[in-house]
Every structure is written in C-alpha cells, then in structure tokens.
C-alpha cells in the first residue's frame, strides 16, 4: 500500500499519462462500492485521492452496519448511502447513475477492500480516454499477477470463464473482475439489473450485445487475509447462477 498520510504522492505510473488525462480534462469518476469496509476504506481513499487529486471519487455505502459512512464523510469525496444493503451490483449502479448525472466522461469501478492498486487506474483509463475502446476490463489472468490467490479460487474463477464466454459471446479471460473503466457512452448502455454479484457477468453481456469496443488490461489483485474473508465463497457461484437464471428480459 502506498503511504499517503504524510502528504507524499502515491506511486505514479507514468507522469505523461497523468498530464495527458489532466490536459484533456476528461472528467473521470471513480465509483467505489463499500459494504462494511471501515477497516480498510481510509487507506484506499487516501491512496486514491493522493494519486488522482483531479478525479472525482464516488463512495456508495451499501447499507453498512459499521462506521463506513461516518469515516468516508471526512474525505473530499462524493458520498451516497443505501439505507439498506442491496448488494455490490446495486451500489455500482447507483454510483454510475450519480456519476453520469454529474457529467462523468469516464467511469472507473474500484473495490473498497484494498485488493486493487490505485496506481493501475490509469492503465484502464488511458485506452478509454484516448478513444481506443469504450470499456477497459481488468483481468487477473494477464501475467500471473493475482498475488496470494488460492488454488480453489483460481479454479473457480477459471471455471466461470467458459460459462461467461458461452453465455455472453465475449471471449474474456476473467469473468468477475470488478476493476474496469467505462466511457460515458458505455456506462449509459449498461442495464445493471443484477443487485448482487451477478452484475459482473451482466456487464459483460451488455457490452457484448451493444457491440461496444472493449479490451482487457492485466491488473494486480492483492489477496489478503482481509479480502479473502470479505470475498465470495464457493457458494457465491451458485448465487450468481441463480441470479442470472432469473433475470428479467430487456
């Protein structure tokens, strides 16, 4: 984790890209869905704000029962609260709706549990900002970058890939990665009816049916004891399948 508390800037990938993003003054919104993340959210937000002071951070507290909301209020971020817990997909949708209403041109989805590296946001934003694609999806299987991933998780995620490929027709290498950047146009065409975890497949399916231009960008996901505890269990896959089976028609 990048140290930021003392006013130092976080690890900057390429200053030129920073400059580019700043100069083109594309309005970038980072949507952070958070459910009971008080333990790590401060670090994540400090990291984000220090690395990208020119981006808008939108935190959607998804009905947390801990101090997530109060804690976030101390930071210069947009703060929204679901009065009851709806699920990650719903929180992302609320954040995206908000960002679109506030003129976002590029929207990044970023997890609140400290698994993702803020410095890598630019790698996803850059191709979208340059107009090379409408959607940049993070993938954990780019260059063996998912540190600390357990074998069972790896197998489960790999098993989800052919399922997503068949059901959506998009040859992605990582079906359920929450790290992505969307152009305004792409964000507008997402339906996001899935409140819970199945939204990840739904996003890919929407990209596919809309014929949006997409690329995959290798990202590093840190698996810590905390994130593993917070993350999805094997049974989560059953929930995802059930949610997808019962989804409404367009």
């Amino acid at each position: 984790m990048v140290s930021t508390g003392n006013g130092q800037l976080g690890t900057v990938t390429t200053p030129t890209v920073h400059e580019h993003t700043r100069r083109t003054s594309r309005s970038v919104f980072v949507v952070v869905p958070a459910y009971n993340e008080a333990a790590v959210l401060a670090t994540v937000l400090e990291d984000l704000l220090a690395t990208y002071p020119y981006m808008d951070v939108v935190v959607v507290d998804d009905g947390s029962s801990d101090e997530t909301y109060e804690l976030t209020a101390a930071y210069p971020v947009h703060l929204l609260r679901h009065v009851v817990n709806l699920g990650q997909g719903a929180a992302i949708k609320t954040g995206i709706d908000y960002a679109l209403a506030h003129g976002a041109e590029i929207i990044v989805t970023f997890d609140a549990d400290g698994q993702m590296d803020a410095a890598e946001i630019l790698r996803l934003v850059e191709p979208v900002a340059l107009g090379e694609c409408d959607v940049a999806l993070g993938t954990r299987f780019g260059k063996d970058r998912a540190d600390g991933m357990t074998m069972s998780r790896k197998l489960l995620l790999q098993a989800a890939v052919p399922f997503t490929r068949i059901s959506t027709g998009l040859p992605v290498s990582d079906a359920h990665n929450g790290f992505r950047a969307l152009s305004r146009k792409a964000a507008q065409l997402l339906r996001l009816t899935q409140n819970r975890m199945a939204h990840a497949s739904e996003i890919i399916s929407d990209i596919s049916s809309a014929g949006a231009r997409w690329i995959e960008v290798p990202v590093s996901i840190r698996y810590t004891a905390y994130s593993r505890r917070k993350g999805q269990s094997f049974l989560g896959a059953v929930d995802v399948l059930m949610d997808l089976f019962g989804r409404p028609t367009r």
């Binding site: 930021t4 220090a50 002071p53 101390a74 930071y75 947009h78 929204l80 709706d97 908000y98």
Partner: protein
Amino acid sequence: MIVVFKLFLIAALTVIVRIYLRHARSILRDRLIVLILFAGLFAAIVYPTLTTVVARWLGIGRGADLASYVAFMLIFFLVAVLYARHQETQRAVTHLVREIALLKAIQPKPAAARTADDEGVHNRNPKGRVDQDLYETTLRRQRR
C-alpha cells in the same frame, strides 16, 4: 432411455416456467393456473378413481402417481411465482433505496477546483462537514 426422457421432461418444464415468467406472466394467468391445478386436486379428492382413469389415459399407470406428479408441478409453479413476486418487490426496493441515496448525496468541492487552487487532498475538511454554501453554489451552477 427413461433417464434421458426424464431429463428432457425436467428441462422442458424449466424452459416452460421460464418462458412463462419472462413473457407471458400476468396476475390473472397466475391465478387461473393455480385455480385449475387446485380444481384438479379437489376433483381427485372427491372422485379418487378419477385419477386412475386419467393416469391410464396418460399412460402413467397408477392414480396415486399422477396425483404426486400434479402436486409436484403445483408446488414447483407456486415457488416460481413467489420467486418472481419477490424479485419484483426487490426491484421496487432497489429503486427506492437508490432514489434516496441520490437525493441525499453529499458532494465535495468539484475535483477540478480542488486541483486548481492547489488545495488538493492535503487540505481536506477535517471534520468532514459539507460546505453548505459551496454545495448550493455548485448545485446552482449545475442547474444553469
């Protein structure tokens, strides 16, 4: 062969229920289907021999088998309908919760302004209170 056929029947039933829930659903039809299934059950209670007649006619054999099949289908259908209703409620709740979240959103100073006057992240409001004047100015600016 029988296993294959049964699998086919299960798949067909699943598809029919799904098509019904997605495309042909209405409260009136839900009620009609439940009514017809219940009518069948009552008929079977009043005239137990009727089930055997119908079962023979369908090639099932015993009337009790037919009754259990019908009961199974009724339960299956009720579960599916309840699930669909639950999803509708869930969608309504989501909509409400989202509207409240958007209405009560707390806004920081616009990011561009933060960078421009070099306040950045190091000069954030320690108490986390919203600058009401700024909030209203921003709102007014956006409305324009």
